[in-house]
């Protein structure tokens, strides 16, 4: 068992209106097999015993699929490991006596709720504006009525793997949500089922994205680098292509 000592600088903010600040917590001799969130659990147990309020942070499945967790760790969304959510990051990737700075997602589209918790309801609003196929329950034809090329299904799945965590927005200097929107638009436009609504979908989703305060893409590729599911920036290219196409068709 390997043990390390860490200094944590954690963002504390009571609510959306108050000013935040960093607080420093020291952890000595902790097991490197521990996950990052388990480390925060330890901090919180200590704080509780000292009669202080624990650090609020979102988390749920702790296996990298629900998209609930996330924080900026030493300047990187979800921390230093590629293709990894914060909950799947383990302390073996940190050095003894390292200082770790932990902040919430920072973006106009995601206001801070408390400490590391942010409000990502803007993503739900974007999906509500068209991120689906409008099929009523019961009206579907047999699953084999429409064939789909394996390659298309695979590409659609690559895009559909998005967990909606918001790391792409947090990593982007423009706080752009175009990878998130591009992933959903791509997933559906790559499949025959998504075709009938493809034009309205892309126009409405982009409109909502803009209205929610997310910025534009300037090809920094930071989103792809931060994405725990390795969603490709090709999906942004496809989004732009589909958007242009839909505008012309309008």
């Amino acid at each position: 068992m390997n043990k390390i000592t860490l200094t944590l600088k954690v963002w504390r903010q009571k609510n959306a209106k108050s000013h935040g600040r960093f607080e420093v917590y020291k952890l000595t001799d902790i097991d490197t097999a521990m996950s990052f969130l388990e480390m925060l659990d330890v901090v919180n147990e200590n704080l509780t015993r000292e009669g202080k309020e624990p650090v609020a942070f979102d988390h749920d499945c702790r296996e990298g699929i629900c998209g609930m967790c996330g924080a900026v760790v030493n300047g990187q969304a979800h921390g230093p490991l590629r293709a990894t959510t914060l909950c799947q990051l383990h302390l073996r990737h940190f050095k003894n006596n390292q200082t770790i700075v932990i902040e919430p997602w920072r973006s106009k589209g995601f206001p801070v709720v408390k400490d590391l918790v942010v409000d990502r309801s803007a993503f739900d609003k974007i999906i509500a504006s068209g991120g689906y196929v409008s099929v009523r329950t019961g009206s579907a034809p047999d699953a084999h009525a429409v064939l789909i090329k394996k390659d298309d299904a695979e590409k659609a799945m690559d895009a559909a793997a998005c967990i909606g965590c918001g790391a792409c927005v947090a990593a982007c200097p423009n706080a752009s949500a175009m990878l998130f929107v591009g992933a959903k638009v791509s997933h559906l436009v790559l499949l025959p089922q998504g075709q009938p609504e493809s034009e309205a979908r892309v126009l409405n989703m982009v409109k909502t994205m803009d209205a929610q305060g997310f910025g534009n893409c300037s090809n920094e590729y930071e989103c792809e680098a931060a994405c725990p599911k390795e969603i490709s920036v090709k999906n942004i290219a496809r989004l732009n292509h589909e958007f242009r196409k839909a505008q012309i068709a309008k």
Binding site: E63, M157, G194
Partner: protein, 637 residues
């Protein structure tokens, strides 16, 4: 007397004939009815979307910041259906048969048959939504095998089937939000069920961001709040999974059925430290291509590569040659425990066995293995810091799913009129053991294709509730009671954290009411639970206030419920003097160590009625009749 309302007539015709008898609500009247759905997993989202499409006004509540995050999202392996696309002999009858047998004959035949019947529509619906299921080069859908079946009937989307199905249902839900038919209440926790003249007509929730309690009235309440495996503290479930919603409904009169039927999943990443917060599942689908083994010699601590073929025991293949590594979960889990108890376990703790892909890697090559299971291998590597392409995975069983839940009749309505319970939160379809890839099937069957019919029948018999119902004293009383409870939790200001109690309860329950249950252990647990509960209310420390986001307070409320609920699980396990499926009583086993049922005395659903905290609950029995499948000792040899 419990009336399961199972329609008469031949099994094959029950659902079709029943649908015709169910009353309808006129399309222009539907919008006058308000329905509450709590929970946004597969069952809740699909139900809410389908009800809203029909024209009802729907309010949807969930704990997380978005409905897309419910724990269905984490289901990996797949979803069953009786399509028989591979032409390997599948049918509705066979899926029904496998599920009844897999559940060790403790599920209702009529419900299971209906589940198998609607399974095919689910696949159609999901494909139409754009769920990117795995496909063959021909463009047709691909299938794979799961435990407890000898046909390939499982549809999948890589190792993220639950995610893709949930995103499909979430899309359907958000479509109705956009159309104004659904109002969404994220970050909301249900604290109480409100009854008006004995019928479920509303709920009390706590807004988790502001701490405010809010009353919501409706013509019917649907609970789709999932299972309670987290009562064991460590489980494969998400951290927010809890029993609170169904427990509070139980305390308002809904019966709790078969609480002791809990599923321990055989293939999870083993425990690694006392700070551990959850256990991670490795999908059952891995058993398609992996072989489970331990060293033949007890205490053999050599690395796996140094243990030759003839020194290994592929114990599942040896004991169950017909099903091999694909025996049902309860059997695989128990066999694993047995090997470890005999000292043949591997890894630092000795509480693990190998799940080995070397044969598959040779047979199929790395690319195909990666294509099928890549994300699971990556997850394993991240957690364990070891490469499963180079050395076998280590796995051990962990609490995963709960077959027990609130009792419901054939219409998915509890004994409380107007209270419907769907998905994992009810007890109905899996008996004493659920087969792999059947949870997704049941959640979506309930939500898309069953509840929209049966709920209409209930509403057709009710007048829409008074618009000012939440102003009635009954709602105000619930608000006062819950406010006091929250204040009490905050006021204890003791010395131990919520997790101190939670871990203690969970470990004790796992040791005494986990994979092996004996009368002695269960009785000890019954002594210990009230003592921990009493100590909790005397010495717990809940920091912060009740007026904003307070995750410690949320957890304290859920753990307080688990400290009551744990007693019911143990009482149910103690009363059921037989072994069946996941419920294994040491005193009742066959000479080969398999679960030994007692059909003469226990062929029934145990539905418990609340009689006060610490008081004896009252047992109602719903006898199970097996007309189609012959009761038999399960045999997977």
């Amino acid at each position: 007397m419990l009336d399961s309302k199972i329609p008469s007539g031949p099994l094959q015709d029950k659902w079709t004939k029943h649908q015709l008898k169910l009353r309808l609500v006129n399309p222009s009247n539907k919008r006058k009815y308000q329905v509450i759905v709590v929970g946004t997993g597969l069952a809740g989202s699909s139900a809410a979307a389908s009800l809203a499409e029909l024209g009802y006004q729907v309010k949807v509540f969930c704990l997380q910041d978005s409905p897309r995050r419910a724990h269905s999202i984490a289901a990996q392996g797949g979803i069953n259906a009786a399509k028989n696309y591979p032409n390997d002999g599948d049918s509705v009858e066979r899926l029904f048969h496998d599920t009844v047998k897999g559940g060790d004959f403790r599920a209702r035949e009529a419900n299971v048959y209906r589940l198998a019947e609607v399974s095919n529509c689910i696949i159609d619906q999901c494909v139409a939504q754009g769920v990117p299921f795995a496909r063959e080069y021909s463009g047709y859908l691909e299938n794979r095998s799961f435990g407890g079946a000898q046909v390939s009937r499982t549809f999948y989307a890589r190792g993220q089937t639950g995610q893709q199905l949930l995103l499909g249902a979430y899309g359907a839900l958000m479509k109705e939000v956009a159309r104004g038919n659904i109002t969404l209440y994220p970050r909301s926790e249900m604290l109480d069920l409100v009854l008006v003249e004995g019928e479920a007509k509303g709920i009390l929730i706590r807004n988790l961001l502001t701490g405010k309690l809010e009353s919501h009235a409706a013509d019917a309440v649907v609970l789709a709040t999932g299972g309670y495996s987290t009562v064991f503290y460590l489980s494969t479930n998400a951290k927010a999974c809890n029993v609170t919603a169904i427990w509070r409904a139980y305390k308002k009169g809904a019966y709790f059925a078969n609480p002791c039927f809990t599923q321990i999943h055989p293939t999870c990443i083993p425990l690694h430290g006392d700070y551990q917060s959850k256990l991670t599942l490795m999908s059952e689908s891995l058993r398609n291509d992996a072989r489970v083994w331990v060293p033949q010699k007890a205490g053999d601590k050599r690395p796996p590569s140094q243990i030759s073929e003839n020194e290994r025991d592929y114990f599942l293949e040896r004991k169950y040659p017909n099903f091999g590594n694909l025996v049902p979960r309860d059997i695989a889990s128990r066999s694993t425990k047995e090997q470890c108890d005999q000292g043949r376990g591997v890894g630092e703790s000795g509480l693990a066995v190998y799940l080995d892909f070397s044969e598959a890697l040779q047979r199929l090559g790395r690319d195909i293995v990666q294509d099928r299971y890549g994300n699971l291998f990556d997850m394993y590597a991240k957690i364990m810091g070891a490469d499963p392409y180079q050395e076998p995975m280590m796995i051990y069983p962990a609490p995963h799913y709960t077959m027990g839940g609130l009792w419901v009749d054939y219409n998915l309505m509890s004994n409380v009129p107007g209270l419907f319970v769907i998905g994992e939160a009810n007890f109905s379809d899996h008996g004493a053991n659920r087969l792999g890839a059947s949870a997704l099937m049941q959640g979506l069957a309930d939500g898309y294709f069953i509840l929209p019919y049966t709920l209409g029948d209930y509403l057709a018999g009710c007048k829409p509730v008074d618009k000012n119902l939440t102003q009635y004293p009954i709602f105000k009383e619930a608000e006062i009671k819950e406010t006091q409870k929250i204040q009490r939790l905050l006021a204890v200001n003791g010395k131990q954290t919520v997790d101190d109690f939670y871990k203690r309860l969970g470990k004790m329950l796992w040791d005494k009411c986990g994979m092996l249950r004996t009368e002695k252990n269960l009785k000890e647990a019954l002594d210990e639970i009230p003592a921990i509960r009493e100590e909790f209310w005397r010495d717990v420390k809940v920091p912060g206030s009740g007026d904003d986001l307070n995750q410690s307070l949320e957890k304290a409320g859920r753990v307080a419920d688990y400290l009551e609920f744990a007693e019911l699980i143990v009482k149910d396990a103690l009363h059921r003097r037989e072994s069946c499926g996941g419920h294994f009583r040491g005193e009742f086993q066959t000479p080969e160590g398999e679960a030994k049922r007692d059909d003469e005395n226990f062929c029934y659903v145990a539905a418990w009625e609340f009689k006060g905290v610490g008081s004896e609950p009252f047992l109602h029995k719903e006898p199970l009749a097996f007309e189609e499948v012959k009761l038999a000792q399960r045999n997977y040899k």
